[in-house]
Protein backbone atom coordinates (compact mmCIF):
# COMPACT_ATOMS: atom_id res chain seq x y z
CA UNK A 1 0.00 0.00 0.00
CA UNK A 2 1.44 3.38 -0.96
CA UNK A 3 1.20 6.03 1.71
CA UNK A 4 2.91 9.03 3.19
CA UNK A 5 6.06 7.75 4.90
CA UNK A 6 5.01 8.98 8.34
CA UNK A 7 1.67 7.20 8.30
CA UNK A 8 2.90 3.78 9.51
CA UNK A 9 4.49 5.39 12.55
CA UNK A 10 1.25 7.16 13.42
CA UNK A 11 -0.55 3.83 13.47
CA UNK A 12 2.19 2.31 15.62
CA UNK A 13 2.55 5.26 17.97
CA UNK A 14 -0.06 4.36 20.62
CA UNK A 15 1.16 0.77 20.96
CA UNK A 16 4.83 1.73 20.95
CA UNK A 17 4.24 4.48 23.51
CA UNK A 18 2.45 2.06 25.85
CA UNK A 19 5.15 -0.60 25.40
CA UNK A 20 7.86 1.98 26.04
CA UNK A 21 6.21 3.35 29.18
CA UNK A 22 4.97 0.00 30.47
CA UNK A 23 7.86 -2.36 29.67
CA UNK A 24 10.96 -0.47 28.52
CA UNK A 25 10.94 2.24 31.20
CA UNK A 26 10.76 -0.39 33.99
CA UNK A 27 13.65 -2.26 32.33
CA UNK A 28 15.61 0.99 32.15
CA UNK A 29 14.75 1.62 35.81
CA UNK A 30 16.11 -1.83 36.67
CA UNK A 31 19.43 -1.05 35.00
CA UNK A 32 19.72 2.38 36.61
CA UNK A 33 18.56 1.39 40.10
CA UNK A 34 20.96 -1.53 40.19
CA UNK A 35 23.80 0.98 40.67
CA UNK A 36 22.22 2.56 43.74
CA UNK A 37 21.31 1.87 47.31
CA UNK A 38 17.74 3.12 47.60
CA UNK A 39 15.02 2.07 50.01
CA UNK A 40 11.26 1.96 49.65
CA UNK A 41 9.75 5.22 50.91
CA UNK A 42 12.96 7.26 50.71
CA UNK A 43 13.16 10.40 48.63
CA UNK A 44 14.94 9.89 45.31
CA UNK A 45 17.62 12.34 46.47
CA UNK A 46 18.48 10.03 49.39
CA UNK A 47 19.86 7.35 47.04
CA UNK A 48 23.49 6.36 47.36
CA UNK A 49 25.64 5.45 44.36
CA UNK A 50 27.24 2.02 44.78
CA UNK A 51 28.89 1.32 41.45
CA UNK A 52 28.90 -2.42 40.89
CA UNK A 53 28.41 -3.35 44.55
CA UNK A 54 24.89 -4.64 43.96
CA UNK A 55 26.19 -6.97 41.25
CA UNK A 56 28.99 -8.24 43.48
CA UNK A 57 26.41 -8.78 46.19
CA UNK A 58 24.15 -10.63 43.73
CA UNK A 59 26.89 -13.06 42.73
CA UNK A 60 27.95 -13.73 46.32
CA UNK A 61 24.50 -13.72 47.94
CA UNK A 62 23.70 -17.20 49.29
CA UNK A 63 20.02 -16.18 49.44
CA UNK A 64 19.90 -15.62 45.67
CA UNK A 65 21.65 -18.87 44.87
CA UNK A 66 19.45 -20.78 47.29
CA UNK A 67 16.40 -19.35 45.53
CA UNK A 68 17.87 -20.22 42.10
CA UNK A 69 18.36 -23.75 43.35
CA UNK A 70 14.79 -23.84 44.70
CA UNK A 71 13.56 -22.60 41.31
CA UNK A 72 15.43 -25.44 39.60
CA UNK A 73 14.05 -28.08 41.97
CA UNK A 74 10.52 -26.72 41.61
CA UNK A 75 10.95 -26.32 37.84
CA UNK A 76 12.41 -29.79 37.36
CA UNK A 77 9.48 -31.56 39.01
CA UNK A 78 6.80 -29.31 37.62
CA UNK A 79 8.02 -29.42 34.03
CA UNK A 80 8.80 -33.15 34.08
CA UNK A 81 5.43 -34.12 35.56
CA UNK A 82 3.41 -31.75 33.40
CA UNK A 83 5.14 -32.83 30.18
CA UNK A 84 4.83 -36.57 30.98
CA UNK A 85 1.21 -36.38 32.10
CA UNK A 86 0.15 -33.81 29.51
CA UNK A 87 1.74 -35.61 26.55
CA UNK A 88 0.60 -39.01 27.82
CA UNK A 89 -3.00 -37.92 28.22
CA UNK A 90 -3.05 -36.18 24.85
CA UNK A 91 -1.83 -39.37 23.12
CA UNK A 92 -4.26 -41.61 25.02
CA UNK A 93 -7.29 -39.41 24.71
CA UNK A 94 -6.67 -37.90 21.28
CA UNK A 95 -9.59 -39.62 19.57
CA UNK A 96 -11.97 -39.55 22.51
CA UNK A 97 -11.47 -35.84 23.17
CA UNK A 98 -12.12 -34.90 19.58
CA UNK A 99 -15.84 -35.39 19.99
CA UNK A 100 -16.10 -34.31 23.61
CA UNK A 101 -16.03 -30.55 23.80
CA UNK A 102 -17.13 -30.87 27.44
CA UNK A 103 -13.77 -32.17 28.59
CA UNK A 104 -11.94 -29.43 26.74
CA UNK A 105 -14.09 -26.80 28.42
CA UNK A 106 -13.31 -28.35 31.80
CA UNK A 107 -9.60 -28.44 31.07
CA UNK A 108 -9.54 -24.77 30.13
CA UNK A 109 -10.84 -23.75 33.57
CA UNK A 110 -7.66 -24.02 35.68
CA UNK A 111 -5.85 -21.79 33.16
CA UNK A 112 -8.42 -19.05 33.57
CA UNK A 113 -8.53 -18.97 37.37
CA UNK A 114 -6.67 -16.21 39.21
CA UNK A 115 -3.36 -17.48 40.69
CA UNK A 116 -4.36 -15.96 44.03
CA UNK A 117 -7.49 -18.12 44.00
CA UNK A 118 -5.54 -21.25 43.02
CA UNK A 119 -3.22 -20.57 45.94
CA UNK A 120 -6.00 -20.10 48.46
CA UNK A 121 -7.93 -23.20 47.31
CA UNK A 122 -4.87 -25.42 47.71
CA UNK A 123 -3.85 -23.82 50.97
CA UNK A 124 -7.31 -24.60 52.31
CA UNK A 125 -7.40 -28.17 51.01
CA UNK A 126 -3.91 -28.90 52.37
CA UNK A 127 -4.60 -27.39 55.78
CA UNK A 128 -3.10 -29.83 58.29
CA UNK A 129 -6.00 -29.72 60.72
CA UNK A 130 -9.19 -29.19 58.77
CA UNK A 131 -8.09 -29.76 55.16
CA UNK A 132 -9.90 -32.31 52.99
CA UNK A 133 -6.65 -33.85 51.76
CA UNK A 134 -5.55 -35.00 55.19
CA UNK A 135 -9.05 -36.23 55.96
CA UNK A 136 -9.20 -38.45 52.91
CA UNK A 137 -5.66 -39.68 53.44
CA UNK A 138 -6.98 -41.02 56.73
CA UNK A 139 -4.45 -39.13 58.81
CA UNK A 140 -6.82 -37.48 61.21
CA UNK A 141 -4.87 -38.71 64.22
CA UNK A 142 -1.50 -37.61 62.99
CA UNK A 143 -2.01 -34.72 60.60
CA UNK A 144 0.47 -34.37 57.74
CA UNK A 145 1.89 -30.84 57.99
CA UNK A 146 1.77 -30.19 54.22
CA UNK A 147 2.74 -26.54 54.27
CA UNK A 148 4.83 -26.56 57.46
CA UNK A 149 7.50 -29.08 56.44
CA UNK A 150 10.16 -27.97 53.92
CA UNK A 151 9.94 -31.05 51.69
CA UNK A 152 6.17 -31.38 51.89
CA UNK A 153 5.74 -27.66 51.16
CA UNK A 154 7.72 -28.17 47.95
CA UNK A 155 5.54 -31.19 47.12
CA UNK A 156 2.45 -29.07 47.76
CA UNK A 157 3.39 -26.22 45.43
CA UNK A 158 4.40 -28.76 42.77
CA UNK A 159 1.00 -30.46 43.06
CA UNK A 160 -0.90 -27.19 42.72
CA UNK A 161 1.16 -26.19 39.69
CA UNK A 162 0.69 -29.59 38.05
CA UNK A 163 -3.06 -29.28 38.66
CA UNK A 164 -3.19 -25.86 37.04
CA UNK A 165 -0.80 -26.21 34.11
CA UNK A 166 -0.92 -29.83 32.90
CA UNK A 167 -4.04 -28.92 30.84
CA UNK A 168 -1.92 -26.30 29.06
CA UNK A 169 0.58 -28.93 27.87
CA UNK A 170 -2.32 -31.24 27.06
CA UNK A 171 -4.00 -28.67 24.83
CA UNK A 172 -0.85 -27.67 22.97
CA UNK A 173 0.07 -31.30 22.29
CA UNK A 174 -3.51 -32.09 21.27
CA UNK A 175 -3.48 -29.21 18.79
CA UNK A 176 -0.17 -30.56 17.47
CA UNK A 177 -1.57 -34.08 17.09
CA UNK A 178 -4.58 -32.79 15.21
CA UNK A 179 -2.31 -30.87 12.89
CA UNK A 180 -0.33 -33.97 11.84
CA UNK A 181 -0.82 -34.86 8.17
CA UNK A 182 -3.41 -37.64 8.02
CA UNK A 183 -1.90 -39.38 5.00
CA UNK A 184 1.40 -40.07 6.77
CA UNK A 185 -0.43 -41.61 9.73
CA UNK A 186 -2.62 -43.68 7.42
CA UNK A 187 0.31 -44.86 5.35
CA UNK A 188 2.14 -46.10 8.41
CA UNK A 189 -0.97 -47.93 9.61
CA UNK A 190 -1.13 -49.66 6.25
CA UNK A 191 2.57 -50.51 6.61
CA UNK A 192 1.60 -52.32 9.80
CA UNK A 193 2.96 -49.98 12.44
CA UNK A 194 1.42 -50.79 15.81
CA UNK A 195 0.14 -48.23 18.29
CA UNK A 196 3.38 -47.96 20.24
CA UNK A 197 5.64 -47.72 17.17
CA UNK A 198 3.27 -45.18 15.73
CA UNK A 199 3.69 -42.91 18.74
CA UNK A 200 7.39 -43.43 19.30
CA UNK A 201 8.66 -43.42 15.72
CA UNK A 202 6.15 -41.27 13.88
CA UNK A 203 3.96 -38.99 15.98
CA UNK A 204 6.43 -37.79 18.60
CA UNK A 205 9.31 -37.15 16.16
CA UNK A 206 6.96 -35.19 13.89
CA UNK A 207 5.89 -33.09 16.84
CA UNK A 208 9.38 -32.44 18.14
CA UNK A 209 9.12 -28.70 17.60
CA UNK A 210 5.75 -28.39 19.31
CA UNK A 211 6.96 -30.43 22.29
CA UNK A 212 10.02 -28.19 22.60
CA UNK A 213 7.85 -25.06 22.49
CA UNK A 214 5.51 -26.43 25.17
CA UNK A 215 8.51 -27.37 27.32
CA UNK A 216 10.14 -23.98 26.92
CA UNK A 217 6.94 -22.12 27.71
CA UNK A 218 6.55 -24.10 30.90
CA UNK A 219 10.18 -23.37 31.85
CA UNK A 220 9.59 -19.66 31.22
CA UNK A 221 6.50 -19.75 33.40
CA UNK A 222 8.40 -21.43 36.22
CA UNK A 223 10.66 -18.40 36.34
CA UNK A 224 7.71 -15.99 36.21
CA UNK A 225 5.41 -17.68 38.72
CA UNK A 226 5.20 -16.47 42.29
CA UNK A 227 1.61 -15.61 43.20
CA UNK A 228 0.43 -19.15 43.99
CA UNK A 229 3.55 -19.84 46.07
CA UNK A 230 3.25 -16.49 47.83
CA UNK A 231 -0.31 -17.32 48.91
CA UNK A 232 0.35 -20.98 49.78
CA UNK A 233 3.61 -20.80 51.71
CA UNK A 234 4.96 -17.24 51.47
CA UNK A 235 8.26 -18.89 50.49
CA UNK A 236 8.50 -20.89 53.70
CA UNK A 237 8.89 -22.72 55.87
CA UNK A 238 12.29 -21.07 56.17
CA UNK A 239 13.41 -20.52 52.60
CA UNK A 240 12.32 -23.89 51.31
CA UNK A 241 9.88 -22.67 48.66
CA UNK A 242 11.30 -19.21 47.97
CA UNK A 243 11.80 -19.27 44.21
CA UNK A 244 13.80 -16.53 42.48
CA UNK A 245 10.81 -14.37 41.52
CA UNK A 246 9.45 -14.58 45.06
CA UNK A 247 12.87 -13.66 46.42
CA UNK A 248 12.81 -10.65 44.10
CA UNK A 249 9.37 -9.59 45.28
CA UNK A 250 10.22 -9.99 48.96
CA UNK A 251 13.48 -8.07 48.61
CA UNK A 252 11.38 -5.10 47.52
CA UNK A 253 8.21 -5.63 49.52
CA UNK A 254 9.54 -7.02 52.80
CA UNK A 255 13.18 -5.87 52.93
CA UNK A 256 12.31 -2.59 51.14
CA UNK A 257 15.69 -2.78 49.38
CA UNK A 258 14.76 -1.38 45.96
CA UNK A 259 18.27 -0.98 44.54
CA UNK A 260 19.16 -4.59 45.19
CA UNK A 261 15.69 -5.78 44.13
CA UNK A 262 16.27 -4.04 40.80
CA UNK A 263 19.52 -5.99 40.41
CA UNK A 264 17.66 -9.27 40.96
CA UNK A 265 14.95 -8.04 38.57
CA UNK A 266 17.66 -7.49 35.99
CA UNK A 267 18.95 -11.05 36.43
CA UNK A 268 15.42 -12.43 36.04
CA UNK A 269 14.76 -10.24 32.99
CA UNK A 270 17.97 -11.38 31.31
CA UNK A 271 17.04 -15.04 31.91
CA UNK A 272 13.56 -14.48 30.45
CA UNK A 273 14.79 -12.47 27.47
CA UNK A 274 17.24 -15.27 26.61
CA UNK A 275 14.39 -17.80 26.79
CA UNK A 276 12.22 -15.54 24.62
CA UNK A 277 14.91 -15.38 21.96
CA UNK A 278 15.22 -19.18 21.96
CA UNK A 279 11.43 -19.43 21.71
CA UNK A 280 11.53 -16.97 18.83
CA UNK A 281 14.05 -19.14 17.00
CA UNK A 282 11.84 -22.21 17.51
CA UNK A 283 8.61 -20.53 16.48
CA UNK A 284 8.61 -17.04 15.07
CA UNK A 285 4.99 -15.99 14.74
CA UNK A 286 5.97 -13.50 12.07
CA UNK A 287 8.23 -15.76 10.03
CA UNK A 288 5.75 -17.88 8.12
CA UNK A 289 3.39 -14.98 7.54
CA UNK A 290 5.59 -12.21 6.27
CA UNK A 291 9.12 -11.36 5.27
CA UNK A 292 10.71 -10.02 8.39
Amino acid sequence: MRTNRFVPYLFLLPAVAILALGLLVPLYNAVMLSFYDWSFGQAWSARRFLGFDNFVRLVTDPGVWASVRTTFVFGFWVVTLEMLIGVGLALLLEKAVRGASFIRTVFVMPLMIAPVVVGLIWRYMLDARSGVVNYYLGQIGEAIPWLADPTLAMVSIVVSDVWQWTPFVFMIVLAGLQGLPGDVIEASYIDGANWWRMIWHIKLPMMRNILLIALLMRVIDVFRALEVIFIMTGGGPGRSTRVLSLHLFQTAYTSLDLGYAATIALLLSVILIVFSVVLLVLSNPLKEKADF
Binding site: L12, G22, A100, T105, M109, V116, R224, V277, L279
Partner: protein
Protein backbone atom coordinates in the same frame (compact mmCIF):
# COMPACT_ATOMS: atom_id res chain seq x y z
CA UNK B 1 -32.88 -48.59 3.45
CA UNK B 2 -29.46 -47.64 4.65
CA UNK B 3 -30.31 -49.03 8.08
CA UNK B 4 -31.33 -52.44 6.79
CA UNK B 5 -28.34 -52.68 4.52
CA UNK B 6 -26.07 -51.90 7.44
CA UNK B 7 -27.85 -54.54 9.47
CA UNK B 8 -27.44 -57.07 6.71
CA UNK B 9 -23.71 -56.49 6.52
CA UNK B 10 -22.94 -56.41 10.22
CA UNK B 11 -25.77 -58.55 11.53
CA UNK B 12 -23.81 -61.76 11.54
CA UNK B 13 -21.17 -60.49 13.99
CA UNK B 14 -21.69 -60.11 17.66
CA UNK B 15 -20.80 -56.57 18.89
CA UNK B 16 -17.58 -56.59 20.88
CA UNK B 17 -17.51 -54.67 24.12
CA UNK B 18 -15.37 -51.60 23.28
CA UNK B 19 -13.14 -51.72 26.37
CA UNK B 20 -10.73 -49.22 24.89
CA UNK B 21 -13.50 -46.68 24.43
CA UNK B 22 -14.95 -47.30 27.87
CA UNK B 23 -11.62 -46.91 29.64
CA UNK B 24 -10.92 -43.72 27.70
CA UNK B 25 -14.21 -42.19 28.75
CA UNK B 26 -13.69 -43.36 32.32
CA UNK B 27 -10.29 -41.68 32.32
CA UNK B 28 -11.84 -38.46 31.03
CA UNK B 29 -14.45 -38.47 33.77
CA UNK B 30 -11.77 -39.00 36.44
CA UNK B 31 -9.71 -36.15 34.96
CA UNK B 32 -12.72 -33.86 34.88
CA UNK B 33 -13.39 -34.64 38.55
CA UNK B 34 -9.77 -33.94 39.53
CA UNK B 35 -9.94 -30.64 37.66
CA UNK B 36 -13.27 -29.54 39.06
CA UNK B 37 -13.03 -30.81 42.65
CA UNK B 38 -10.85 -27.96 44.00
CA UNK B 39 -13.13 -25.35 42.43
CA UNK B 40 -16.14 -27.10 43.92
CA UNK B 41 -14.49 -27.22 47.36
CA UNK B 42 -14.05 -23.43 47.20
CA UNK B 43 -17.66 -22.90 46.19
CA UNK B 44 -19.00 -25.25 48.88
CA UNK B 45 -16.82 -23.66 51.57
CA UNK B 46 -18.09 -20.20 50.65
CA UNK B 47 -21.59 -21.40 51.59
CA UNK B 48 -20.62 -22.77 55.03
CA UNK B 49 -20.61 -21.28 58.50
CA UNK B 50 -17.27 -20.86 60.34
CA UNK B 51 -18.08 -23.85 62.57
CA UNK B 52 -18.63 -26.11 59.57
CA UNK B 53 -15.46 -24.80 57.91
CA UNK B 54 -13.34 -25.52 60.99
CA UNK B 55 -14.79 -29.02 61.37
CA UNK B 56 -12.24 -31.78 60.85
CA UNK B 57 -14.73 -33.88 58.97
CA UNK B 58 -15.53 -32.30 55.60
CA UNK B 59 -19.28 -32.16 55.15
CA UNK B 60 -20.68 -32.52 51.68
CA UNK B 61 -24.25 -32.14 52.83
CA UNK B 62 -24.94 -29.00 54.80
CA UNK B 63 -27.37 -26.14 55.02
CA UNK B 64 -25.98 -23.53 52.60
CA UNK B 65 -25.85 -19.97 53.86
CA UNK B 66 -25.13 -16.74 52.05
CA UNK B 67 -23.80 -15.11 55.22
CA UNK B 68 -20.22 -14.96 53.89
CA UNK B 69 -21.38 -13.14 50.77
CA UNK B 70 -23.50 -10.83 52.84
CA UNK B 71 -20.51 -10.09 55.08
CA UNK B 72 -18.12 -9.16 52.27
CA UNK B 73 -20.67 -6.82 50.72
CA UNK B 74 -21.97 -5.12 53.87
CA UNK B 75 -19.03 -5.28 56.31
CA UNK B 76 -16.19 -4.99 53.81
CA UNK B 77 -15.69 -2.93 50.69
CA UNK B 78 -16.39 -5.60 48.13
CA UNK B 79 -18.54 -3.44 45.84
CA UNK B 80 -16.11 -0.55 45.23
CA UNK B 81 -13.31 -3.07 44.65
CA UNK B 82 -15.49 -4.98 42.22
CA UNK B 83 -16.09 -1.74 40.34
CA UNK B 84 -12.35 -0.99 40.39
CA UNK B 85 -11.54 -4.48 39.07
CA UNK B 86 -14.16 -4.19 36.34
CA UNK B 87 -12.98 -0.73 35.24
CA UNK B 88 -9.36 -1.87 35.10
CA UNK B 89 -10.22 -5.16 33.35
CA UNK B 90 -12.50 -3.66 30.73
CA UNK B 91 -10.38 -0.54 30.28
CA UNK B 92 -7.18 -2.54 29.67
CA UNK B 93 -9.03 -4.77 27.23
CA UNK B 94 -10.45 -1.87 25.22
CA UNK B 95 -7.10 -0.04 25.03
CA UNK B 96 -5.28 -3.25 24.08
CA UNK B 97 -7.66 -4.10 21.24
CA UNK B 98 -7.56 -0.60 19.79
CA UNK B 99 -3.80 -0.03 19.98
CA UNK B 100 -2.87 -3.61 19.05
CA UNK B 101 -5.29 -3.48 16.10
CA UNK B 102 -3.72 -0.29 14.77
CA UNK B 103 -0.17 -1.57 15.26
CA UNK B 104 -0.95 -4.94 13.68
CA UNK B 105 -2.46 -3.15 10.68
CA UNK B 106 0.69 -1.09 10.15
CA UNK B 107 2.98 -4.12 10.55
CA UNK B 108 0.87 -6.33 8.29
CA UNK B 109 0.14 -3.91 5.46
CA UNK B 110 2.83 -1.26 5.31
CA UNK B 111 6.55 -1.19 4.58
CA UNK B 112 8.73 1.21 6.49
CA UNK B 113 12.17 1.42 8.06
CA UNK B 114 12.24 -0.06 11.56
CA UNK B 115 9.38 -2.47 10.91
CA UNK B 116 11.41 -5.58 11.71
CA UNK B 117 13.06 -3.93 14.70
CA UNK B 118 9.73 -2.97 16.29
CA UNK B 119 8.20 -6.38 15.63
CA UNK B 120 11.14 -8.29 17.08
CA UNK B 121 11.67 -6.04 20.11
CA UNK B 122 8.02 -6.63 20.97
CA UNK B 123 8.51 -10.38 20.84
CA UNK B 124 11.74 -10.35 22.83
CA UNK B 125 10.35 -8.37 25.78
CA UNK B 126 7.01 -10.20 25.90
CA UNK B 127 7.98 -12.47 28.81
CA UNK B 128 8.92 -9.73 31.29
CA UNK B 129 6.85 -10.64 34.37
CA UNK B 130 4.64 -8.28 36.42
CA UNK B 131 6.94 -8.73 39.42
CA UNK B 132 9.84 -7.08 37.57
CA UNK B 133 7.63 -4.15 36.57
CA UNK B 134 6.32 -3.85 40.13
CA UNK B 135 9.67 -3.68 41.93
CA UNK B 136 11.31 -1.36 39.42
CA UNK B 137 8.42 1.10 39.29
CA UNK B 138 7.04 1.22 42.82
CA UNK B 139 9.87 3.34 44.27
CA UNK B 140 9.36 6.16 41.78
CA UNK B 141 5.61 5.68 41.98
CA UNK B 142 5.72 6.64 45.64
CA UNK B 143 8.73 8.97 45.82
CA UNK B 144 7.55 11.06 42.87
CA UNK B 145 3.84 10.76 43.64
CA UNK B 146 3.09 9.44 40.15
CA UNK B 147 -0.03 7.68 41.40
CA UNK B 148 -1.42 10.97 42.70
CA UNK B 149 -0.96 12.90 39.47
CA UNK B 150 -4.47 11.99 38.37
CA UNK B 151 -6.83 12.38 41.33
CA UNK B 152 -9.80 10.58 39.79
CA UNK B 153 -13.37 10.84 41.07
CA UNK B 154 -14.12 9.78 44.61
CA UNK B 155 -17.63 8.41 45.05
CA UNK B 156 -19.65 7.04 47.95
CA UNK B 157 -21.99 4.13 47.44
CA UNK B 158 -25.46 4.23 48.99
CA UNK B 159 -26.40 2.10 52.01
CA UNK B 160 -22.91 2.22 53.46
CA UNK B 161 -21.46 -0.07 50.80
CA UNK B 162 -18.21 1.83 50.83
CA UNK B 163 -16.27 4.47 48.92
CA UNK B 164 -14.24 4.05 45.81
CA UNK B 165 -12.46 5.97 43.08
CA UNK B 166 -12.86 5.96 39.35
CA UNK B 167 -9.95 6.49 36.97
CA UNK B 168 -7.36 7.70 39.44
CA UNK B 169 -3.61 7.39 38.90
CA UNK B 170 -3.34 3.87 40.27
CA UNK B 171 -6.08 2.51 38.03
CA UNK B 172 -4.72 4.26 34.94
CA UNK B 173 -1.25 3.01 35.85
CA UNK B 174 -2.47 -0.58 36.13
CA UNK B 175 -4.26 -0.26 32.79
CA UNK B 176 -1.01 0.94 31.24
CA UNK B 177 0.95 -2.03 32.60
CA UNK B 178 -1.71 -4.62 31.79
CA UNK B 179 -1.99 -3.24 28.27
CA UNK B 180 1.79 -3.31 27.86
CA UNK B 181 1.94 -6.90 29.14
CA UNK B 182 -0.71 -8.00 26.63
CA UNK B 183 0.27 -5.96 23.58
CA UNK B 184 2.98 -8.27 22.20
CA UNK B 185 0.69 -11.32 22.17
CA UNK B 186 -2.27 -9.31 20.86
CA UNK B 187 -0.28 -7.56 18.13
CA UNK B 188 1.05 -10.73 16.60
CA UNK B 189 -2.24 -12.57 17.01
CA UNK B 190 -4.13 -9.78 15.20
CA UNK B 191 -1.28 -9.54 12.69
CA UNK B 192 -2.02 -13.14 11.70
CA UNK B 193 -5.71 -12.37 11.35
CA UNK B 194 -5.14 -9.27 9.20
CA UNK B 195 -2.82 -11.20 6.89
CA UNK B 196 -5.71 -13.54 6.10
CA UNK B 197 -7.98 -10.71 4.94
CA UNK B 198 -7.75 -10.27 1.14
CA UNK B 199 -5.95 -7.00 0.42
CA UNK B 200 -8.32 -6.34 -2.50
CA UNK B 201 -11.02 -5.31 -0.03
CA UNK B 202 -8.84 -2.49 1.23
CA UNK B 203 -7.77 -1.46 -2.23
CA UNK B 204 -11.41 -1.27 -3.32
CA UNK B 205 -12.21 0.93 -0.34
CA UNK B 206 -9.31 3.24 -1.16
CA UNK B 207 -10.43 3.48 -4.78
CA UNK B 208 -13.83 4.50 -3.39
CA UNK B 209 -12.11 7.36 -1.62
CA UNK B 210 -11.63 6.00 1.92
CA UNK B 211 -8.58 7.08 3.89
CA UNK B 212 -6.47 4.62 5.88
CA UNK B 213 -8.26 5.19 9.17
CA UNK B 214 -11.58 4.50 7.48
CA UNK B 215 -10.12 1.38 5.90
CA UNK B 216 -8.99 0.19 9.31
CA UNK B 217 -12.20 0.92 11.18
CA UNK B 218 -14.76 0.17 8.46
CA UNK B 219 -13.11 -2.65 6.49
CA UNK B 220 -10.54 -4.42 8.66
CA UNK B 221 -11.94 -4.22 12.21
CA UNK B 222 -15.42 -5.55 11.30
CA UNK B 223 -13.76 -8.65 9.84
CA UNK B 224 -11.61 -9.29 12.92
CA UNK B 225 -14.25 -10.44 15.38
CA UNK B 226 -12.58 -13.79 16.00
CA UNK B 227 -9.14 -12.27 16.55
CA UNK B 228 -10.49 -9.56 18.82
CA UNK B 229 -12.35 -12.20 20.85
CA UNK B 230 -9.20 -14.23 21.53
CA UNK B 231 -7.17 -11.13 22.30
CA UNK B 232 -9.88 -9.69 24.58
CA UNK B 233 -10.20 -12.93 26.57
CA UNK B 234 -6.49 -13.10 27.32
CA UNK B 235 -6.15 -9.43 28.14
CA UNK B 236 -9.14 -9.46 30.46
CA UNK B 237 -7.88 -12.64 32.10
CA UNK B 238 -4.58 -11.05 33.06
CA UNK B 239 -6.02 -7.68 34.10
CA UNK B 240 -8.72 -9.34 36.20
CA UNK B 241 -6.48 -11.95 37.84
CA UNK B 242 -3.17 -10.15 38.34
CA UNK B 243 -2.05 -9.69 41.93
CA UNK B 244 1.51 -8.42 42.44
CA UNK B 245 1.31 -5.16 40.47
CA UNK B 246 -2.15 -4.48 41.85
CA UNK B 247 -0.91 -5.06 45.39
CA UNK B 248 1.94 -2.59 44.88
CA UNK B 249 0.11 0.17 43.03
CA UNK B 250 -3.48 0.38 44.27
CA UNK B 251 -4.66 2.40 47.26
CA UNK B 252 -7.50 1.81 49.69
CA UNK B 253 -10.06 3.13 47.22
CA UNK B 254 -8.89 1.31 44.12
CA UNK B 255 -7.86 -2.21 45.18
CA UNK B 256 -8.70 -5.00 42.78
CA UNK B 257 -10.45 -8.17 43.92
CA UNK B 258 -7.33 -10.41 44.16
CA UNK B 259 -5.74 -7.84 46.50
CA UNK B 260 -8.97 -7.64 48.50
CA UNK B 261 -9.19 -11.45 48.75
CA UNK B 262 -5.66 -11.82 50.08
CA UNK B 263 -6.46 -9.45 52.96
CA UNK B 264 -8.62 -12.15 54.56
CA UNK B 265 -5.41 -14.09 55.24
CA UNK B 266 -4.34 -12.51 58.48
CA UNK B 267 -1.62 -13.26 60.95
CA UNK B 268 -4.21 -14.10 63.59
CA UNK B 269 -5.91 -16.59 61.29
CA UNK B 270 -7.55 -16.91 57.89
CA UNK B 271 -11.21 -15.91 57.48
CA UNK B 272 -11.88 -18.85 55.19
CA UNK B 273 -15.58 -18.24 54.67
CA UNK B 274 -15.21 -14.67 53.41
CA UNK B 275 -12.05 -15.57 51.51
CA UNK B 276 -13.78 -18.38 49.64
CA UNK B 277 -16.75 -16.13 48.89
CA UNK B 278 -14.48 -13.50 47.30
CA UNK B 279 -12.57 -16.28 45.51
CA UNK B 280 -15.78 -17.69 44.07
CA UNK B 281 -16.86 -14.27 42.83
CA UNK B 282 -13.43 -13.61 41.28
CA UNK B 283 -13.67 -16.87 39.39
CA UNK B 284 -17.16 -16.29 37.92
CA UNK B 285 -16.30 -14.01 34.95
CA UNK B 286 -13.41 -16.23 33.69
CA UNK B 287 -15.67 -19.28 34.13
CA UNK B 288 -18.37 -17.67 32.00
CA UNK B 289 -15.77 -16.87 29.36
CA UNK B 290 -14.68 -20.51 29.48
CA UNK B 291 -18.22 -21.75 28.89
CA UNK B 292 -18.90 -19.43 26.00
CA UNK B 293 -15.48 -19.28 24.38
CA UNK B 294 -13.52 -22.45 25.23
CA UNK B 295 -12.72 -22.85 21.53
CA UNK B 296 -11.22 -19.37 21.25
CA UNK B 297 -9.20 -19.90 24.43
CA UNK B 298 -7.74 -23.14 23.13
CA UNK B 299 -6.99 -21.39 19.87
CA UNK B 300 -5.12 -18.69 21.76
CA UNK B 301 -3.25 -21.20 23.92
CA UNK B 302 -2.09 -23.24 20.97
CA UNK B 303 -1.29 -20.11 18.98
CA UNK B 304 1.61 -19.60 21.33
CA UNK B 305 2.34 -17.22 24.11
CA UNK B 306 -0.39 -17.04 26.70
CA UNK B 307 1.58 -15.20 29.27
CA UNK B 308 1.08 -12.58 31.90
Amino acid sequence: MAGTLDHAVHGGHRRRVPWGEISRYAAMIVLALITLAPIFVMFATSLKTPVEIQSRIPRWIFMPTLSNYEAIVTQYRFVPYLISSAVIGLGSTAITLLTAGMAAFALARMRFPGRGLIAHTTLVIRMIPPAVLAVTVIGFWIAWGIGDLVPGWLYTLPQGLGRGKLLDGSQLGLMLFYTALNLPFSIWLLFGFIRQIPVELEEAAIVDGANLLQVLFRVIFPLMGAGFAVSAIFTFRIAWNEFILALMLTNRFTKTLPVFAQEFMRDEGVLWGQLMAVGTLIVIPPMLLTFFAAKQIIQGVSAGAVKG
